[in-house]
Each structure stands twice: as C-alpha cells, then as structure tokens.
C-alpha cells in the first residue's frame, strides 16, 4: 500500500484548491511527512505556489516536515489529563527518550508529539503510541511502556 505522491495526485484529477488539505493528509499518510518534493508536485498539480502550500500546511498542527520515528508517541495535554498530572508524564517521557516535543530520537525509534486532546478523557492521563491508547499512565508506568516498545523495536 506504498502509494507515491504521483499516485495520489493521479487519483484526484482536476482537483481544486479545496482539495489541498485532504491531499496533504494523504501525502502525509503515505510518506509519514510532507517533503519539499511533495510540496513542489502538489503545487504543479493544483497550480498553487509552494509558499501558499507551506502557508496552509504550517498553520495546522497535523502536518510534519520531518520524517517520523518508528514509534509515534503522542502525549495528551488536555484539561482532564492536566489536572490528573500529565505534565509529570510528559517530563518522564522527555527524560527517558531525551527528546523534546516535535523531535525524533537519534536512533529513529521514537518521535514525540504533544496533542491537545485524544478524546478519551475518562482514562486520563493518556499516551498513545502509534495510535494505541494507553490510559491512566503514571510517570513510572510510561517509562515501562516505552521500554517495552524499545525492546520490541530492537528485536525487529
């Protein structure tokens, strides 16, 4: 299911400006991030200057311009998570992975992202790794969770 940018564009002939965000989403889903080359191709297809595309893409939190690590760690910093101590969880993750929000670890295993709400506030505080939600985590348990992924990543 490895679609390339030309494949995606070919599936949307005659796309207009309103297709820009869905196309960016598809590109990111296929390639993991928005590359400069992809922006150039999108620009040709939609007849938009690259500056416009970057203007839109950088406005939204969803779009990344660097490749993701193998495990995409999302830390929820919603209100419910905050009052239940997600700041401590976030600090523990940063300490363990030695990266900040938006960065990818040097071994390419983990990338860290802060999200504003994952919508499962009943289980706060939450951390999601590659979409798998871990509820009611603590600074201690999250380190254990990350260790499990690291072991799994090292074997594969």
């Amino acid at each position: 299911m490895n679609r390339t940018v030309p494949d995606i564009l070919a599936a949307h002939p005659g796309a207009g400006r309103d297709a820009l965000i869905p196309l960016l989403q598809e590109v990111q889903e296929a390639e993991g991030y928005i590359s400069r080359a992809a922006v150039a191709e999108l620009g040709t297809h939609l007849d938009l200057p690259a500056s416009r595309i970057y203007g839109v893409a950088t406005f939204y939190n969803q779009f990344r311009f660097q490749p993701l690590g193998r495990y995409h760690v999302q830390v929820c910093r919603g209100t419910a998570c905050h009052v239940k101590g997600s700041l401590g969880v976030f600090a523990a993750i940063k300490r363990t992975l030695k990266i900040e929000d938006g960065e990818t670890s040097r071994d390419g295993l983990f990338s860290l992202e802060v999200v504003s709400c994952l919508g499962a506030c009943g289980l706060a505080p939450l951390v999601a790794v590659n979409g798998q939600v871990h509820g009611e985590v603590t600074p201690e348990s999250v380190v254990e969770i990350l260790r499990r992924y690291r072991r799994e990543g090292a074997v594969a």
């Binding site: 400006r17 965000i21 969803q62 009943g122 939600v133």
Partner: protein
C-alpha cells in the same frame, strides 16, 4: 410519494425483534469498543472472548458496541442469555472475561456481581442485580441523544432501522415542507449545542430564506475543546443518528451538499461515520432523488487538520475551502454568505443528533423538558477528579451538583471538591459551593462561565486554580491564529503575567517582580480589552478561564503573588523541597542532578538542601529513588 427504505427484514416482526435483541437465539456477548474502551484494554478482552468461544466450543454471538458512557468501568462486557435480562460487567480484563463467561454460560457462581442489568419485557430478570435505572450513574440521566449508544452495533444500519431509525427523516420528507421543518424546530426551542446556544430553527430559517442556487450544511465535529468527547462518543456509538439528523437539517434548509468536518484525531469515529454514510447511500437515504422524493443530498467527510480555532464558523469554512483556518469578520454571517460564498448552516454534532428524537417525539414533548430558555437534554463529558468519569446526558435544568456528585460520585479518595471547569478554554470555573446552578445557557453565564460544548473537568483540593488558568492561557496562546492583535498579543501577555506569578523568586528579574505585583490588576484590564476587541469567538472568550478563577479564587492568586506560595502545592517553583534524613541513604543522586549545587552531604550520609540556593526546579524529587525528597507548600524565602 416517499418510497420505503430498503431494509432487509422490513415487515418481519420476528427479525426486527432479533435485531433489537429483544429475542436472542444464542448467548450474545457485547464488548464496548469505543476509543475509551479500547484504551482501557477492550481489544484484548474482545480477542480473548473470541478465542474462548473457539476453544470451548461455545455457540456465541460476539458484538462490538459503542460506549454506553461509563468510562470509569471500561472495559465493559455485557452478556445476554436467551430469555434473560442483559447483564453488564465492568473492568473486564481477559482473565475476568473468561471467569464471567464460564459462570454465566455454565451456570456457576459469578466471580463478581454485575454492575447492572437491562430490564426488558419477556426477559426474566436476575436476582440481586440492580437495574440500569437504579445504578447511580444512570438514575439521574435522561438519555435521548445517547439512547442507542452502547446498545447497538454502530456498524449496522439494520440495527438502527430496527430501533425506529430514519423514521423521523422519512416522515419529514413525506409530510412537511422545508419551511414547516424550520418552524417545528423553532417551536421545540432547540438551541445550538456547540456552545453559542443560538436557536437552531431560526438559523435554518435565515438560510432557507436566502435565495441561492446552492446551499450547504456543515456538521461541526471538530471537537477541539480539551476535556470534551461527547461528539466522538455519539459518532462512535450511533453514527446513523448523526446522518439522519443531517439529512433532516439539509432538507429543512434546502442544502444538497453537506460536509462533516471531523477531527483527524478520531480515527475510529471517522471509520464508523464513513461506513454509515456508505450504508445510507446504498439504502437510497443519500444521493440522487432520496427515497423517490426528488431531493438530492450528498454528505462528505472532511478531516480537520488540528487547529482549535477551526471550531469557529468562519475559520471552519476557510479550512474546508483549503485555506488557513483563520476567522473572518461577521457579518456577513455564514447563513447568508458561507462556504464558497453560498448560504451555509453550521450545526454541532449534538444539535443534529437531537433531531431524530425531536421529530419523533414532537416539538411540544421536546419543549416540555428543560427550563424556560433551554429545552431538551444536554450531554456532558465528565472527567478529571471524579469517581465515575464518563458521558452523561441530563435534562436541561438539572443541577451541576446532580451531575458531578450523584452521577459522577464526587471527588475520589475523600478529597474535597474545589471547582468544575465547564466549556473548555472558552468557559470558566464554577466553585464547589455554586454547583446548585441548573444546567441552562443563561444560569451558567451568570457565574462567568459558559455552557460550551459540554466538557466538565472536575478539580479537587489538590488542583491549583492559578495553574489551571495558566494551562488554558498557554493553550489559547498557542492556538490563536494570529490574525487580530488583541488575541495574538493579549493572550500571550496574559500568559506571561501568569508565568511571572508562579515563578521562583530567585529566578525573577526586577521588572518581573513589578509585573507580578501588578498581576491581578493588569490581568483584569487586559482581559477586558481582549473581550471587547478580538475578532472571533475564540479571542472574545479567551480571557474567561482567567476571569472566572480570579472571580472565585482571588485568594489563591494573592497567595501566589504576595506570599509566594501555592496553597495546593502544584506550582513547582513555589514549593519548598526537603530531604528526610531517615529515608536518605546518601546515594548522591540528587546532589549530582542539582543544577545549582544546593544539595550537600557526604556519600552514604543523609543529604540536605540549602534553601538559600535552591531554585525549586524539582530535579532532586525526580531523581530520588527512595522517596526521601518531599515538598511543602511553605512560603518561599526571598533573596
């Protein structure tokens, strides 16, 4: 003439009873697999149930359902035996699932009592198990929007139809003119559930009366308020209800194209909705010439790209058009000039999901529930420091006390309830002694908060209100789109003031001390300016969290500003740190991490912290493996 809905078992009452699970021929196991259930491990429970059925040769139907709302007891597993009432068990991990199924199917003693049972006609109830209506979480609720959530398979159109689904749409299409539908909704008193509370019927009529060749309906499912998950749960648990609501609304305003603008963070909801739309198209409920009525309707999904401001109408439209999600001035309002310049009605998920029930019950019955100005029910997402977190639907006019204490069970661990945050970053905090306020748009506004979309985050004595205000300002400041100066610069400056009043005295520079002393005065003044001059709803309501905490918890601000202490012991830089000599084994770990060399002591001897040097960064607390470092809310000594 409105044609029938292509529905396989139509006219076969026995088949409909089976779809409603009024009669089941073999035991049915239902597992709640909403996002919250999966987060609690429902996936593993479900897999184990399927595995067990194979291993032990049990003849079972295994069904995945949405969330019934009791998130605190997830994963939930229900069992229904032929002729018996359906039972619901809570906190079911794979091992417990095995024990429960073995006992229920094999007829032994249950490993533990079920949470409740669903009483129904012709089903023999179980002895000693409370009915769902007697469970404290469900007893005070009035479930109209959430009626089917947790009961039906969200991937099945037939199950929704068997419970009377799309009957409201069909009757509207067959017997009412669009104008009459608008009037009906206006009569019911339904108001927008997204937060603003604008009368829905009036909004529709404005759009209907605007002449145009193309009109649009947009469902706002960009539930950006942190702490709110009502829309997600409705879409995950009962997606056809939203589709039906949208179909009714689109018919009423004369829109032939509709969009659902949904958060990309909700993959499960997107999947279920996509499936529901496909089924509806297939059944002739959407598309060209819907049910032979001559009306066309197309509904498309648009995934949001993660911007809080896109919950604002004009910003949402900009985002669908493929531009930066920045709001524009109003008027013109979207009902006259909206998406692609055409009249556009934007309604929230909950508003639309109310419609099938509203039409089925009639506007008078709908208006009979609630208060003078607010009709029907309201769904709340209850989270934070409360025993039973989850999704709650109560009649308008119910007190917040009932929602938080009766339904939610109050603060866990015998802690004192302090406040509840309502309405997300645009809302405010309501103190515990004002919780007798009834749930309606006006009453909540008089307390300096707003209904918002319905997130309720409960806080107890361990939460610091200054910290909460700072959290919201940080959020708003990051999410401000940057178009208008009051919001872009103002919220940033409010955050800076809050940061200065929670900063350690030793890290403070001269002008910051001044900023701190002026803090409260400046905050109020700045908040007033932002409220009056910001362009959109996001900016105009941005100061609310600060203003409401200032109004009810001014003493906490003053303790931070003048006494330099955090009464709740949350603001890390205002804490004092001490090492318990009885626990410290002198491992030197803390001394090594201390950035200012404030910790002294010989190896293998208890260490001490020099309070005149300590900057209260908290590194020692994190580093200590013996729990010897403790914090106190004591007053900070100024240098």
């Amino acid at each position: 003439m409105i044609g029938p809905i292509s529905f396989t078992p139509a006219g076969d009452p026995a088949a409909i009873r089976r779809l409603r699970r009024d009669t089941v021929v073999r035991p049915v196991v239902l597992v709640g697999t909403g996002t919250c259930g999966l987060g609690a491990g429902a996936g593993r429970t479900l897999a184990r149930v399927k595995e067990l059925a194979g291993e032990r040769g049990w003849d079972l139907d295994v069904v995945e359902v949405g969330c019934i709302g009791l998130c605190a007891s997830e994963p939930l597993l229900d069992v229904q035996l032929p002729g018996r009432a359906r039972l619901c068990f809570g906190d079911v991990d794979p091992d417990k699932a095995e024990a429960i199924l073995a006992s229920v199917l094999g007829g032994g003693a249950w490993p533990e009592l079920p949470l409740f049972q669903f009483p129904a006609e012709d089903h023999t109830p179980w002895d000693g198990v409370p009915a769902i209506g007697d469970h404290p979480f469900f007893a005070p609720q009035t479930r109209w929007v959430l009626k089917n959530c947790g009961l039906i398979d969200p991937r099945s159109l037939d199950e929704y139809l068997a419970r009377g689904g799309y009957a409201a749409f069909r009757s509207v299409l067959g017997s009412l003119q669009p104008r009459e539908v608008c009037e009906l909704v206006e009569r019911s008193g339904l108001r927008g559930r997204g937060g603003g509370g604008f009368p829905t019927g009036r909004k529709w009529r404005l759009a209907l009366e605007t002449p145009a060749t193309q009109k649009y309906l947009i469902c706002n499912a960009d539930e950006g308020d942190p702490g709110a998950f009502m829309d997600r749960a409705v879409i995950e648990g009962d997606p056809h209800r939203l589709v039906e609501g949208m179909a009714i609304a689109a018919y009423a305003v004369g829109a032939t194209k509709a969009y659902v603008y949904i958060r990309a963070e909700y993959p499960l909801a997107i999947g279920h909705l996509d499936n529901a739309l496909e089924q509806a198209r297939h059944a002739g409920l959407l598309g060209h010439d819907v049910l032979g009525s001559g009306v066309d309707l197309e509904i498309r999904l648009k995934k949001g790209a993660g911007a809080f401001v896109c919950g604002e109408e004009t910003a949402l439209i900009a985002s669908i058009e493929g531009r930066r999600g920045m709001p524009g001035p109003r008027p013109p309002y979207p009902v006259t000039r909206g998406l692609f310049g055409a009249p556009t009605v934007i309604n929230n998920v909950e508003t639309l999901a109310n419609l099938p029930e509203l039409v089925a019950r009639g506007p008078e019955a709908f208006a009979a529930l609630g208060t003078a100005g607010s009709k029907g029910t309201k769904v709340f997402a209850l989270s934070g420091k409360v025993s039973r977190t989850g999704l709650v639907e109560v009649a308008m006019g119910t007190s917040l006390q009932t929602v938080i204490v009766d339904v939610g069970g109050g603060a866990p661990g015998g802690k004192r309830l302090k406040a509840v945050q309502i309405g997300g970053p645009s809302g405010g905090c309501i103190p515990a002694d004002r919780l007798d306020v009834p749930v309606d748009y006006e009453s909540i506004r008089t307390l300096g908060a707003m209904m918002g979309s319905g997130g309720l985050v409960v806080m107890d004595e361990d939460n610091c209100m200054v910290d909460v205000a700072k959290f919201f300002m940080d959020f708003i400041q990051r999410e401000s789109c940057g178009k208008c100066i009051p919001c872009r610069e103002g919220t940033r400056h409010m955050l800076e003031i809050l940061q200065s009043i929670t900063r350690h005295p030793r890290r403070e520079h001269d002008h910051q001390a001044l900023e701190r002393f002026q803090g409260v005065v400046h905050l109020e003044e700045l908040a007033g300016v932002i409220k009056d001059s910001a362009l959109c709803g996001l900016g105009q309501t941005a100061p609310n969290p600060v203003l409401s905490t200032l109004r009810w918890f001014r003493d906490e601000y003053e303790a931070h500003i003048f006494e330099r202490r955090c009464p709740a012991g949350v603001c890390a830089e205002l804490l004092t740190y001490a090492i318990d000599p009885a626990l410290c084994n002198g491992c030197t770990r803390c001394a090594r991490v201390c950035p200012v060399d404030a910790i002294h002591g010989d190896p293998r001897e208890p260490h001490v912290i020099d309070q005149t040097v300590c900057i209260a960064c908290g590194s020692c607390l994190e580093a200590c493996r013996r729990g010897a470092v403790s914090t106190g809310a004591g007053r900070q000594t100024c240098p």
